[in-house]
C-alpha cells in the first residue's frame, strides 16, 4: 500500500504534512466514488466540536448532586436516567455511573483502545487515548492521579474501571464543600471533564471564583 512505501522512504519520521496529504487524497477518492458526502463529514465534525461535549455530563452530575430521585435513577439505570435528559446515542448506549464518596475514588480508562462516553463527555482528550495513561492507570492509579495534581489520602480506596465492553462509565465526583443552596446551573460550572473521568475532583467554589475573575 502507498503508506508502506512511504514509511520505507522516510523511516520513522513521517512529516505530518505528508499524512495530511494522504488523508486529503483518501477523502477526494471517497468523494469521487460518492462513498462519502462531504457535507456529512462536516456535520459529523460540527456535532463533536460544538454540540456533544462535557457540558452534557456536567448537567447530569449537577442534577445528581441536587436531586436525590435522579441520583437513585442513575444508580438503578444510568442509561435511562441520562436519556431522560436528552443524551442518547453513539458511545453512550449502555451507561453506568460510578460515585465518588469520602471513602472511594473512581477513575476510568480503556486499556485496549479509547472507549469513552461520547454522549456525555464528547470526544476523549489526547492523554486519555495515550499509551502512558492506558498502561499505567491500572497499575499505579495514585501515581497517575498525582500527575494531574490529585493527591488521594492513603485511606481512600481507588477503583479503576477498565472499559473493555460497550458499557461506558461516568464518574460522579463528590459535591464540593461550600455549595449548599447552589442551583443546578451554578453547580454545573464546577463540573470539569477531568472530574467525570476521575482524574481530578470537581472545582471548589473558591477555585471557580478565581478562574472567573
Amino acid at each position: 500500500m502507498a503508506h508502506d512505501h512511504h514509511d520505507h522512504d522516510h523511516e520513522h519520521t513521517e512529516p505530518p504534512h505528508d499524512l495530511a496529504l494522504r488523508v486529503k487524497a483518501l477523502e477526494s477518492l471517497l468523494v469521487e466514488k460518492q462513498l462519502v458526502d462531504p457535507a456529512a463529514l462536516d456535520a459529523l465534525i460540527e456535532t463533536y466540536e460544538t454540540k456533544v461535549g462535557p457540558r452534557n455530563g456536567a448537567k447530569v452530575v449537577a442534577k445528581a448532586w441536587s436531586d436525590p430521585d435522579f441520583m437513585e435513577h442513575l444508580r438503578r439505570d444510568a442509561t435511562d436516567a441520562i436519556a431522560n435528559l436528552g443524551y442518547t446515542g453513539r458511545q453512550g448506549e449502555h451507561m453506568v455511573a460510578v460515585e465518588n464518596t469520602p471513602d472511594t475514588h473512581n477513575v476510568v480508562v480503556c486499556t485496549l483502545c479509547s472507549c469513552y462516553p461520547w454522549t456525555v463527555l464528547g470526544l476523549p482528550p489526547v492523554w486519555y487515548k495515550s499509551a502512558p495513561y492506558r498502561s499505567r492507570v491500572v497499575m499505579d492509579p495514585r501515581g497517575v492521579l498525582a500527575e494531574f495534581g490529585t493527591e488521594l489520602p492513603d485511606e481512600k480506596a481507588v477503583r479503576v474501571w477498565d472499559s473493555t465492553s460497550e458499557i461506558r462509565y461516568l464518574v460522579i465526583p463528590e459535591r464540593p464543600e461550600g455549595t449548599d443552596g447552589w442551583t443546578e446551573e451554578q453547580l454545573e460550572s464546577l463540573v470539569t471533564r477531568n472530574s467525570m473521568i476521575g482524574v481530578e475532583p470537581a472545582k471548589s467554589p473558591n477555585a471557580a471564583n478565581e478562574a472567573a475573575e
Partner: protein, 223 residues
C-alpha cells in the same frame, strides 16, 4: 490477539503529560477531523462493525501502533478495511484516483448530512439475547481463562489467569471475539472486581481494585 494495543501494565511509556483541560482543542490538525469523520461515515456503509474496526487497528505491527498518534492509527485501520472489503483498490488508495465506480448497493447506504443527527442519536446498542443462563452471579469468584487467541478479544492480558469476584451481571452483549469475524452472538457480560495485589503482586499499593468487563466465555469458576 496479544498486540501492541493491549497496554495495561506496560512500562516505559513515559508520563501522561495532560494538556490543560481549559485550553485543549478537540483536534490538533485539520486532517484529524477528516479521519474521525471518514471513519464514522464509512462505518455506515455496513461493511464492518465496531469490533472489526478495532481489530483492524490492532493488527498493525506493535511498533507502528505505539509510534502512531491516535488518529494515525484510525487512518491505518480505515485504509486497511477499505481495501480488504474491496471498497477501494490498493491502486486507488495509492493514486488517490478512482479507477471504477462504487458498488450501487453501497451508494444506497451513504450517510447524508441531514441523517447525521438521527443516526448518531440512535447509536448501536450491543445488547443481544441468549438462551444460555448466566453461569455466574454477583459475589462469585471467577478466574479469567489463560487463553491467547490470535484474533480480536476484549480480555486484556493483565487479567488473564487471575482471580476476581463478580461485581455485577450486565445482561448479555455481543461477544467481540466473534463479532470481529462478522458473527454476532449474545453472551453474558459481567463487571469483575480484581484486587490490585492479585494482579500486580504483593508490592501493589493497597486499597486499590480494578473493575474489568468480561464475557462469560472468558471466565471459569475459581475456588
Amino acid at each position: 490477539m496479544n498486540g501492541g494495543h493491549d497496554l495495561g501494565g506496560m512500562h516505559g511509556l513515559g508520563p501522561v503529560n495532560p494538556e490543560p483541560e481549559a485550553t485543549e482543542p478537540f483536534f490538533h490538525a485539520e486532517w484529524e477531523r477528516r479521519v474521525l469523520a471518514m471513519t464514522l461515515a464509512t462505518g455506515f456503509l455496513g461493511q464492518w462493525n465496531i469490533d472489526i474496526s478495532r481489530h483492524a487497528r490492532e493488527r498493525q505491527h506493535p511498533a507502528e501502533y505505539l509510534k502512531n498518534t491516535y488518529y494515525e492509527n484510525w487512518m491505518a485501520g480505515l485504509e486497511k478495511l477499505l481495501v480488504e472489503k474491496g471498497i477501494v483498490t490498493a491502486e486507488e488508495l495509492a493514486t488517490g484516483k478512482a479507477s471504477g465506480k462504487a458498488d450501487p448497493a453501497l451508494l444506497a447506504k451513504v450517510l447524508t448530512a441531514e441523517n447525521v443527527p438521527a443516526t448518531l442519536a440512535k447509536g448501536g446498542p450491543a445488547e443481544m439475547a441468549t438462551e444460555a443462563k448466566p453461569r455466574f452471579a454477583a459475589g462469585d469468584a471467577v478466574r479469567v481463562r489463560n487463553f491467547h487467541p490470535r484474533g480480536h478479544t476484549r480480555a486484556p492480558r493483565y487479567v488473564r489467569g487471575h482471580v476476581g469476584v463478580i461485581h455485577e451481571h450486565y445482561g448479555s452483549h455481543i461477544l467481540p471475539d466473534r463479532s470481529a469475524m462478522g458473527d454476532k452472538i449474545g453472551v453474558h457480560l459481567y463487571s469483575v472486581r480484581f484486587e490490585g495485589e492479585e494482579i500486580w503482586g504483593p508490592d501493589a499499593p493497597s486499597r486499590e481494585a480494578i473493575y474489568v468487563d468480561l464475557w462469560d466465555d472468558y471466565l471459569e469458576p475459581a475456588r
